[in-house]
Amino acid sequence: MAFISSGYNPDKPMENRITDIGPRKYDEFYPPVIKKNKGTWLYHEILQPGVLVHVAESGDEVYTVRVGGIRLMSVSLIREVCDIADKHCDGYMRFTTRNNIEFMVDSKEKVQPLIDDLESRKFAAGSYKFPVGGTGAGVTNIVHTQGWIHCHTPATDASGPVKATMDVLFDDFKDMRLPAQMRVSLACCLNMCGAVHCSDIAILGYHRKPPLMDHEYLDKMCEIPLAISACPTAALRPGKVELEDGTKVKSIIVNEPRCMFCGNCYTMCPSMPLADDVGDGIVIMAGGKVSNRISAPKFSKVVVAFFPNEAPRWPQTTDCIKKMIEVWSADANKYERLGEWAERIGWERFFEKCELEFTHHLIDDFRDPAYFTWRQTTQFKF
């Protein structure tokens, strides 16, 4: 290929360089009905799964059709989104904070044709390109991270488990039969780029083996003190190691029983990878929330310590999630988030009803605050 210059001159990088201009201004992209009625919306209604109407003081209405987005999108797919927007929405659209796509129209007539168009589009192999849904008391898109597509620290994949899970939960993406909204999130390592720590259900990639030490290269590739100080449990110390050929090298010694596999050392030093085919897998967390509705935001709790990475469809993980949602759906009160339900019935009941085993791994033993998760009352259910 021939290098095509944008006009950038490597020898004069500062030559008419433009910096610090920030993002484009939001209002350039508002559809007219939004621009006109911004700040004067009166109320909304969800007309059917995936279809919202918002009514403004002016009497204007904006109809929103929400479709499930695969956030890992090709330019071809984005162009197809643009085609749809041009055809139905005067070229406007938006994305939600959970990576769904929203097409907005300013009159009711325009809704059905738009829906028909969206639902009609499928990938060659048969999956929907733009399934309508993800509103109200249902399941919406799973926020997720990079996984094996692009990151160096994952303990599981992101797009794969998400596709597998959304296939299993698809009916609830297109329905609103649940007691409350159900937010499932995935993070492929505990850096938790998905910020899954406050989700109704969280899928978390986790390592279970201490770093594998590449002693021969470690001192060349890493700053030993930086790596050591990165360890939250002080499981690392400097030391000399003898290689097979007998040469002694400076390196890092792992106190394995003190390691809880967070991978923070690897972030600092590539010569101590944690990834392992059987060691890595998925932790299931549940009962978190972000909203301040009724109850305060809650952290998700670890309810399954480990599922193996069963590519391509992670059946144990998806079964467990499906089961929890079904039990919650059958047992909870209207408006009750999964975590509110679990706290009301008591976690002992949660494990019983969801048929999950309560293993020692689930008892907090990390630092002082662990104490506050233990039970300091005689109140419990048999």
């Binding site: 290098f3 094996w148 597998a164 609103m176 301040n292």
Partner: protein
């Protein structure tokens, strides 16, 4: 015919949910066909090789990406994440696979014109694969080679008037909920504030001067649709001071069943006729509501603005009119000490351009954090290590019970010498006159 066999990935093409595998495959084909006859600036088979390396990970159960070296654009410390494949010979198309973070517009509203322009640049100069959007909020351009970075930045800035987002130890790309643009519950203009602060702090965003990353997120109300309380160093969450306006007719309409509770969000199941007592009054966390002979009464002084009643009866109840926001600070993911949610620092502040009051708090926080924070110590961790009091001092804010859920249970108060009459200096001999050894 595909470059690599992908039997495992192929199984992810079935099922109703959009298949990212099918999409990458269609992109791979498009590049192979190259109908527009582009002179692709990175390997044509980048998508095939990405599928290949991903298939290998599915087989191994391990990632095949290495740490990214320091790559980026001149003068910026962020916006690019370097990435290299650990099997470059097998997958030359993704040997270098860096991502760029493009600062998304507020509310993630777009025109097709803008997106097509972006696609054209990325088609030519990158993998043609993106994330719409990254977890922080950026548009992620997923995978290109080092030489293309400056070119892409040049085209973005010159042809699209568009800048990169943040990465590294600096201000990360702020993001917001849809807010006033399309939501009746927004207590302030999330897009306006998000945009103003993003522009104001461009230098902090592009040039790492912080101990670690720092994030702003803007929620228009306590529902938290951008989850700021869970994942922003400063969470700006809308709220109000005055009463919840009540439209008694609409209340009657809900009770009468003419209006769907919760804007129809529960229409998928027959929950029986709407029961205002069970569904609203009894669920109010502060028990400040009463429903007697057809009238709804709210003792708003005791309301904590949880949004429940408003959510259930959006046509009868609205947010108040004396609006502003709360600033909560210190949220972060679990590394190293366990996750933190943001803690209430400023219960209420008006949101008025040029937002000086808000900026003063932000800058006081940064001064303290840059002064006291250790390398890779998030604000929340510093707050834990030095104590909430230090933060209050740094911001010259008065202690307020609204900042805590409950007062301390331990009496271990670190009295300062100037708070105690006579200070700490005492004379042992004087003491021993009264207290023999």
């Amino acid at each position: 015919m595909a470059k690599h066999e992908t039997p495992l990935l192929d199984q992810l093409e079935s099922g109703p949910w959009p298949s990212f595998v099918s999409d990458i495959k269609q992109e791979a084909e498009a590049r192979a066909k190259n109908e527009k006859g582009l002179d692709y600036q990175i390997p044509v088979d980048v998508c095939e090789d990405l599928l290949g390396v991903l298939e290998l990970s599915f087989k191994h159960g391990r990632t095949h990406w290495k740490h990214g070296g320091v790559v980026g654009v001149f003068g910026y410390g962020g916006g690019v994440i370097g990435r290299y494949c650990d099997q470059p010979e097998m997958f030359p198309g993704v040997a270098h696979f860096h991502t760029l973070r493009v600062n998304q517009p507020g509310g993630k509203f777009y025109t097709s014109k803008y997106l097509r322009q972006l696609c054209d640049i990325w088609d030519l100069r990158g993998s043609g694969l993106t994330n719409m959007h990254g977890s922080t909020g950026d548009i992620i351009l997923l995978g290109t080679t080092t030489p293309q970075l400056e070119e892409i930045f040049f085209e973005l800035s010159h042809n699209m008037n568009q800048d990169l987002g943040g990465s590294g130890s600096n201000l990360r790309t702020p993001s917001d909920c849809v807010g006033e643009a399309r939501c009746e519950w927004s207590c302030y203009d999330t897009q306006a504030l998000c945009y103003d602060l993003t522009q104001e702090y461009q230098d902090e965003l592009h040039r790492p001067a912080f101990p670690y990353k720092f994030k702003f997120k803007f929620d228009g109300c306590p529902n938290g649709c951008v989850a700021s309380i869970a994942r922003a160093d400063i969470s700006f969450i809308g709220t109000w001071k005055d009463d919840i306006p009540v439209d008694q007719e609409a209340v009657a309409a809900y009770v009468g069943g003419e209006l769907p509770p919760n804007g129809g969000a529960h229409a998928g199941r027959d929950w029986g006729p709407f029961d205002i007592r069970k569904e609203v009054i009894d669920l109010c966390p502060t028990n400040c509501m009463q429903y007697a002979d057809g009238k709804l009464a709210i003792n708003c002084k005791e309301c904590t603005r949880c949004m429940h009643c408003i959510a259930v009866m959006p046509r009868a109840l609205r947010i108040g009119n004396d609006r502003g926001l709360s600033m909560l600070v210190g949220a972060k993911a679990p590394i190293l000490d366990g996750a933190q949610m943001s803690t209430m620092l400023v219960p209420f502040v008006k949101v008025e351009e040029p937002y000086d009051e808000i900026k003063e708090v932000i800058e006081n926080i940064w001064d303290w954090w840059m002064e006291e924070g250790k390398n890779r110590e998030r604000l929340g961790e510093l707050m834990k290590r030095q104590g909430f009091q230090r933060l209050l001092e740094a911001c010259n804010l008065k202690p307020d019970p609204r900042m805590v859920q409950e007062p301390r249970t331990n009496p271990y108060i670190f009295w300062k010498e100037d708070e105690v009459p006579g200070g700490f200096k005492r004379d042992i001999n004087e003491f021993r006159k009264h207290h023999l050894r």
